[in-house]
C-alpha cells in the first residue's frame, strides 16, 4: 500500500480502481490456470486437506506402479510355472512307456528328460527385466546353474553324474551286493548282514521264514540275520522272504522258495540230501538274488537318492556327497563344498518362506508376497527327478539294463505324481494366482479412490469456469462504470463553469 500522505484525495479514488483491476487480473489468472490460488494461503480452510489429498494421490500412484511391475513379474512367473507343470506331466507320461536302449545307452524317456531338464533350468532362470524371478532375494543372480554344470560338473566341481556314480559305488559295494555280506558261518547256516553300520546299500528290514526246521536269528548291528538249518531240511515250497529298504526309501523283497526240482529257477533253491547242502544252495540262491536286486532296483534307487543328495540344498544344507575314497566302503556323508561340488541353486537361500522373499505394498496395509526360490520343495522335486532320470546310463550289453531302466522309470513316474502333503508346482501357481487377485482388486480400488480424491482436490483447488467468467463480466462492467464515473467526477468541477 502506498501512502503518499494525508490529503491527496485523488489517490484514494485511483487506489480503488487499482484494487478492482488487480482482482480482475487475478480472476483472469484463475481462468487461465484453472486454479483458485497460486499460494496455499489463497486455497482457503481446506488447504491442509488439499496437501493430504495430494499426498494420498501420490502414494496411490506409487502403489499403481508397484502393481504394474509386480503384475508383470507374476505373469511371467506363472507362464514359467505353467510350463514346468506341463513338463512334469510329459516326463511322467514318458516313464510309463518302456523304451529301448539306444547305442548311447539312453532310453527315449531319458533323452526326453535331458532336453526337458535343460528347459526346466532355463525356465527357472526366467527374468522380468533384469530381475531373476526364482532367485529369492538375490534377484540379480541367476537362480540355477547351467545344464552342463549341473550334469557334468565344472572343472573341479562335481556335477550330478559324478555324485550319482559315487553314490552308486557306495550303495553297491565292492562285491556288487548292496553292501551285504552273505556267508556261511557254519556248514548248516546262511548269514546275511550289512557290512558296516552306514547309510548306504540295502538295509535289511526283516526276514519272514516258513522254512521247516529253520531257525532264524537276527543279529547286529550291523544288522544281520542267520538262517540255521541244522535241524533238518525244509519242505518243498517252503519260502523265506528277505525285505530290504533301499536308499530312496522304497522297499523290495526277495522271496526264495525251497524246491525239490533238480533245476531250480530264479529265486528257488534246491533241497539237498542233507540240510548242509540245502544251506549251501540257499546261500548261492540268495547271493544271486541280492546281486540281481543290487544291479536293478538298488542302482535305480541309488540314482534317485543321489539326485536328492545333490539337489536338496538350502541355507545350512549343502549338497551331500559320499565321504570317500574309497567309495565302496564309505560309511558316512560329507557336505560338498563350493570348491568341490556344483550347487545347482545359485539364488538366495533361507529358512523363511520363499514367498516372503519378494513383497510389494499395493495398498496402505496390503502386501503381496510373490517371491520364488528354485529350491522350493515343489520346484526342486521336479528338477531332481527329471535329472535323476536323465543322469542314468545303460549299456546295451548289460543283461539287467532293461529291468534297471524299468525300476528307474517306475520310481520317477511315482515321484512325479508328487506325494500327498508335499508342495506341488500347482500349489505355487495357486498362491501366485491369489496374489494376482489381490493386485487387480487393489488396482480397481485405487482407480475409484483416485477419482474421488481428484474430484475433492478439484473442488478445493479448482475453479468453476462459469463462475469466474461471470464474475469477470460483472467486474468488468463495474470497472467500466467506475472509470466513467471517475472521469465524469473529474470533469464536473466548478472551474469549468466560471
Amino acid at each position: 500500500m502506498s501512502i503518499s500522505g494525508i490529503g491527496s484525495q485523488t489517490s484514494l479514488i485511483v487506489q480503488s480502481l487499482v484494487d478492482t483491476r488487480r482482482q480482475l487480473d487475478d480472476l483472469q489468472r484463475q481462468l487461465g490456470t484453472g486454479k483458485k490460488a497460486d499460494t496455499y494461503a489463497g486455497l482457503g480452510l481446506d488447504r491442509g486437506l488439499a496437501v493430504g489429498l495430494r499426498a494420498h494421490v501420490a502414494s496411490l500412484g506409487g502403489f499403481d506402479n508397484a502393481i504394474t511391475n509386480v503384475g508383470v513379474r507374476i505373469n511371467l512367473a506363472q507362464v514359467a510355472l505353467g510350463r514346468i507343470s506341463d513338463i512334469t506331466h510329459q516326463i511322467k507320461a514318458a516313464t510309463l512307456q518302456p523304451g529301448a536302449i539306444d547305442s548311447n545307452g539312453s532310453t527315449n524317456a531319458q533323452l526326453n528328460a535331458y532336453l526337458e531338464l535343460g528347459e526346466l533350468l532355463g525356465l527357472l532362470n526366467t527374468q522380468a527385466g533384469d530381475r531373476y524371478l526364482f532367485s529369492g532375494r538375490s534377484t540379480d543372480q541367476p537362480a540355477v546353474e547351467t545344464l552342463d554344470h549341473v550334469m557334468n560338473g565344472d572343472g573341479a566341481r562335481a556335477g550330478l553324474k559324478q555324485i550319482t556314480a559315487e553314490r552308486k559305488q557306495a550303495d553297491l559295494g565292492a562285491n556288487g551286493l548292496g553292501r551285504l555280506l552273505i556267508t556261511a558261518p557254519t556248514p548248516f547256516s546262511v548269514r546275511l548282514r550289512e557290512d558296516v553300520v552306514s547309510p548306504f546299500g540295502l538295509k535289511l528290514a526283516g526276514v519272514t521264514s516258513n522254512l521247516a526246521n529253520a531257525t532264524v536269528t537276527p543279529s547286529g548291528p550291523p544288522t544281520g540275520t542267520t538262517v540255521d538249518l541244522t535241524a533238518g531240511n525244509p519242505n518243498d515250497g517252503d519260502t523265506i522272504e528277505y525285505r530290504f529298504t533301499l536308499p530312496d526309501g522304497s522297499t523290495e523283497s526277495i522271496t526264495l522258495t525251497a524246491t525239490t526240482s533238480a533245476n531250480p529257477g530264479p529265486n528257488q533253491f534246491a533241497i539237498g540230501a542233507t540240510s548242509d547242502l540245502t544251506a549251501g544252495n540257499l546261500l548261492t540262491a540268495l547271493t544271486a538274488a541280492v546281486g540281481k536286486l543290487a544291479a536293478t532296483s538298488l542302482t535305480a534307487a541309488s540314482a534317485v537318492a543321489a539326485a536328492g543328495d545333490f539337489f536338496n540344498v538350502d541355507a545350512g544344507q549343502p549338497p551331500q556327497r559320499v565321504a570317500a575314497p574309497p567309495f565302496d566302503t564309505a560309511t558316512a556323508f560329507v557336505a560338498g563344498t563350493p570348491a568341490d561340488t556344483v550347487t545347482w541353486y545359485t539364488g538366495e537361500m533361507g529358512a523363511d518362506p520363499a514367498r516372503a522373499t519378494a513383497t510389494a505394498s499395493v495398498d496402505t496395509s496390503i502386501t503381496v508376497s510373490y517371491g520364488l526360490r528354485a529350491n522350493e520343495q515343489g520346484l526342486r522335486w521336479v528338477v531332481q527327478n527329471v535329472a535323476a532320470l536323465a543322469a542314468m546310463t545303460f549299456s546295451q550289453s548289460d543283461p539287467n539294463a532293461a529291468e534297471r531302466s524299468a525300476a528307474l522309470n517306475q520310481r520317477i513316474g511315482t515321484a512325479l505324481a508328487v506325494p500327498a502333503g508335499t508342495q506341488k508346482v500347482e500349489d505355487i501357481e495357486g498362491e501366485l494366482a491369489g496374489a494376482q487377485t489381490t493386485l487387480s482388486a487393489a488396482s480397481d480400488r485405487h482407480r475409484q479412490t483416485k477419482a474421488t480424491l481428484s474430484d475433492m482436490l478439484e473442488q478445493i483447488e479448482g475453479i468453476s469456469n462459469e463462475e469466474v467468467a461471470s464474475t469477470i463480466l460483472a467486474m468488468q462492467t463495474r470497472l467500466q462504470a467506475s472509470l466513467q464515473t471517475t472521469a465524469l467526477l473529474f470533469q464536473t468541477s466548478l472551474v469549468r463553469y466560471l
Binding site: 496455499y40 494461503a41 482457503g44 499426498a55 533384469d130 532375494r137 534377484t139 513383497t359
Partner: protein
C-alpha cells in the same frame, strides 16, 4: 470624521478580501500537495473609537479535525504494520511453492516417497536406486533453498529495519527542528501554518514506522512519545540506532544478552544520554518497524524451525536405532546393563522405572551433551512432556557418567555403576523394593551405511552425522534444513540403499531396508518439538512426516491468509478514516471557487463602499 473611518473600514475589508483571495489561490495551488491542510482566514472585527469598526485577518486557520488526525495516525501505524506483514507472509508463501506444482515442497516429498515405493518393489533395480537418490537430493535441495529463502527474507527484514530507522531519524530530526522554529515566534500566520503542515507530515511518516503518541504543548509545540511512553522528540530529537548484520543465518538470533545476540538491535539514544534497547523493552507494537521485528524474530524463525524439525525428523527417523538394555541381576538387585560405546553427542538413554511407594512410573532421559555451555538442560529439551532430562558429560568416561547419575538421582534409590568398559549398569534398590527398573533403551545414531541393521545415515548435516547435539546456541537442529544433504557415501554407492550388511552380504533383492525407509518416512509417527509453533510443550504434535508437512503448510497458509485479511480490514478502516479526514482537511476546488465568487462580490462591495465614500467626500468638498 466618520467618512474617513468608513473608508478605513472599507480598506480593511479589501485587505481581508485580498488575504482571502491569496488563501484561495494557495488552497487551489496545493490541492494535491501531500500533507497540505486547507487554510481559511479567521476574521475579527476591530473597533476603534465609538463608531469605527474594521476587519482584519487575525489568524490563518488550518481546517483540521485533531481527533480524526490522532485516530488516523494510530490506524496508519496499524495499516503499515498489517501491510508489511501481509507482504512478508505473501513472500513466505512463495517459499512453499505453488500448490501441487512440481516445484512445491509437498511434491518434492511425495516424489521421494513414490521413488521409495518403486525401490521397495524393485530393490535390485539400478534405476530405482538412482531414482530414490535423485529425488532425495531434490528434496534436500528444496529444503536448503527454502531455508535460504527464509533467511533471505530475514535479511530483508534486517535491512528494512535499518532503512526504517534512518527514515525515523530523519522524521524525528525534522520534527525537532520545526518545533524549535515554531517556538521562537508565537504567531499563527501562514508560515506557522505551513510549518505545522510539514511537521504533521513528518509525524505521519513516523507513525507509519512505529506506534507513537503525540502530545500538543503550548506555543505550537508537540512532543512525540512511543506508545509505551518513551520520549522520542521534543525540542531535541532522540537518536535511533540499529546495527544490521551483513548475512543472515538461521543461527543468527536476537538475544537480550548482547554477547549472544547475532542480529541487529534497536537502541534509542535520548537527547540527554542514556541508551534504551527498544526490542528488549518491547516498546514498539505497531508500524513497519514492529512488522519487521515480528518477521525477523518470530514468524520467520518459526518457519525455519518448522523446516528444521522436518529435516531433523527425516534424518533421525532413518539413522536412529534402538539399543535395548540387557537384564542383569546382582544379588537381590535387578536392573539392566547398557553399552554406551556408540552413544554420540545428543543421543539419549531412556530409563523407565516404577516408584513402588506411589506406584507411579517415571521416565528419565539421559542425554549426552558435549558442550558444557549448554548445561543444565531443561526438561523441555526432549519432546516428551513427561520425562525428566538429565545431561551427561562423557569426558570423564562411563565411571564418571555413573557418578554424575548417582549424584543427580540420589532420591530415586536407583543405583548406577560402571561394571566394565563402556557399560552402564542401572540397578534398583534390591530387597527394600522401593523402586523397580522397568526398561532401559538407548537411541543411537547409526554412522555406518552397512552396519548390519536397516537404519542408515541417509541424510547428513553437510558431511557429519545428525545426532541432535545440543549446544549453547540451540543445537544441531537450528538451521539444519539449510544444511541437510544426502550422504555422499550413499551417492557414491547406491547399492547401500539395499545392502545393510556385508557378511553375509545382503542379497540385491532384499527389500528390508527400502521398506524400512519408506515406513519411517510415510507411516511412522514421531513427536515434533513445539519450537516449530505446532503443538504445545505439554502436548507435542504427534504424527507422521507427511502429517507434519501438512500441518506446516496449513499453519503457514492460515497465517498468511489471516495476515492478508488483517491488512484488508486495516486498509478499509484506514481509507475510511482518511476519507473523513480529507472531507475536513483537503481542498475542495468547488468550495474554493464558491469562496472566490464570494470574495469577488465582497471585494466589489467594498470597492463600491469606497467609491460611494469618494463621491460623498467629493460632494462634501464641492460644497
Amino acid at each position: 470624521m466618520s467618512l474617513t473611518q468608513a473608508l478605513a473600514t472599507a480598506v480593511s475589508g479589501l485587505r481581508v478580501n485580498q488575504a482571502g483571495l491569496s488563501l484561495v489561490a494557495a488552497n487551489v495551488a496545493n490541492a494535491d500537495t501531500p500533507g497540505y491542510v486547507r487554510k481559511t482566514p479567521i476574521q475579527v472585527t476591530i473597533a476603534a473609537g465609538d463608531l469605527g469598526v474594521g476587519v482584519r485577518v487575525a489568524a490563518i486557520n488550518r481546517q483540521l479535525d485533531q481527533y480524526i488526525q490522532r485516530q488516523l495516525r494510530v490506524e496508519s501505524s496499524g495499516a503499515s504494520y498489517a501491510g508489511l506483514r501481509a507482504q512478508f507472509y505473501d513472500r513466505l508463501q512463495n517459499v512453499y511453492g505453488v500448490p501441487g506444482s512440481a516445484s512445491s515442497f509437498e511434491s518434492a516429498f511425495n516424489d521421494f516417497k513414490t521413488a521409495l515405493q518403486a525401490l521397495s518393489t524393485s530393490p535390485d533395480s539400478t534405476s530405482a536406486r538412482a531414482g530414490v537418490l535423485s529425488s532425495a537430493t531434490v528434496l534436500t535441495q528444496q529444503l536448503n533453498s527454502m531455508s535460504a529463502d527464509i533467511q533471505g527474507l530475514r535479511g530483508d527484514a534486517e535491512f528494512g529495519l535499518a532503512d526504517a530507522v534512518t527514515r525515523a531519524n530523519d522524521a524525528m530530526q525534522r520534527i525537532a527542528q520545526i518545533n524549535r522554529q515554531l517556538g521562537t515566534a508565537d504567531a499563527s500566520d501562514a508560515t506557522t501554518a505551513s510549518l505545522q503542515d510539514q511537521r504533521d507530515q513528518c509525524i505521519d511518516q513516523l507513525a507509519q514506522l512505529m506506534d507513537i503518541k503525540v502530545v500538543r504543548g503550548d506555543h505550537n509545540q508537540v512532543t512525540v512519545f512511543t506508545s509505551s511512553g518513551i520520549q522520542l522528540v521534543g525540542i531535541e530529537a532522540a537518536q535511533l540506532s540499529f546495527d544490521p548484520q551483513g548475512t543472515m543465518t538461521a543461527t543468527a538470533q536476537w538475544n537480550a544478552n548482547p554477547a549472544q545476540r547475532t542480529v541487529g538491535t534497536l537502541v534509542l539514544k535520548g537527547p540527554n544520554g542514556g541508551d534504551i534497547d527498544l526490542i528488549a523493552n518491547r516498546s514498539i507494537h505497531s508500524g513497519e518497524i514492529a512488522a519487521y521485528l515480528e518477521m525477523r524474530d518470530q514468524v520467520l524463525v518459526e518457519a525455519q524451525a518448522q523446516l528444521d524439525e522436518i529435516a531433523a525428523t527425516m534424518a533421525r527417523a532413518l539413522s536412529d536405532r534402538t539399543l535395548a538394555g540387557t537384564p542383569v541381576t546382582v544379588g537381590t538387585q535387578a536392573g539392566f546393563d547398557i553399552d554406551l560405546a556408540s552413544l554420540l553427542n545428543g543421543n539419549s538413554v531412556r530409563v523407565t522405572y516404577t516408584d513402588n511407594l506411589t506406584s507411579t512410573q517415571h521416565v528419565l532421559t539421559l542425554v549426552r551433551v558435549d558442550d558444557p555451555a549448554a548445561l543444565p538442560l531443561p526438561d523441555t529439551a526432549t519432546t516428551d512432556p513427561n520425562d525428566r532430562v538429565i545431561d551427561l558429560d562423557f569426558s570423564g568416561g562411563i565411571a564418571s557418567v555413573a557418578s554424575q547419575l548417582n549424584a543427580a538421582l540420589m532420591q530415586t534409590s536407583l543405583q548406577f555403576s560402571n561394571p566394565a568398559g563402556t557399560t552402564l549398569r542401572i540397578l534398583d534398590d534390591g530387597a527394600a523394593s522401593a523402586v523397580d527398573v522397568n526398561a532401559v533403551a538407548a537411541s543411537i545414531t547409526s554412522t555406518a551405511l552397512a552396519g548390519g541393521s536397516a537404519e542408515l545415515p541417509f541424510f547428513l548435516d553437510a558431511s557429519t552425522p545428525y545426532t541432535g547435539a545440543i549446544t549453547s546456541i540451540g543445537g544441531q537442529s537450528v538451521g539444519f534444513a539449510g544444511r541437510i544433504a544426502v550422504n555422499a557415501g550413499l551417492l557414491a554407492d547406491p547399492s547401500k540403499l539395499v545392502v545393510f550388511q556385508t557378511s553375509p552380504l545382503t542379497p540385491a533383492g532384499d527389500a528390508t531396508r527400502p521398506n524400512f525407509i519408506y515406513d519411517q518416512l510415510a507411516n511412522a509417527t514421531f513427536d515434533f518439538s513445539p519450537v516449530s509453533g505446532i503443538g504445545a510443550t505439554t502436548a507435542p504434535f504427534r504424527g507422521s512426516l507427511p502429517q507434519m508437512i501438512r500441518q506446516v503448510i496449513s499453519h503457514q497458509g492460515d497465517a498468511a491468509h489471516a495476515a492478508a485479511n488483517l491488512k484488508e480490514g486495516q486498509d478499509v478502516v484506514f481509507n475510511s478514516l482518511r476519507q473523513r479526514f480529507n472531507n475536513t482537511s483537503s481542498v475542495n476546488v468547488d468550495e474554493e471557487m464558491a469562496n472566490l465568487l464570494n470574495l469577488q462580490n465582497a471585494y466589489a462591495a467594498n470597492a463600491r463602499v469606497m467609491s460611494t465614500i469618494k463621491e460623498m467626500l467629493d460632494t462634501l468638498l464641492k460644497m
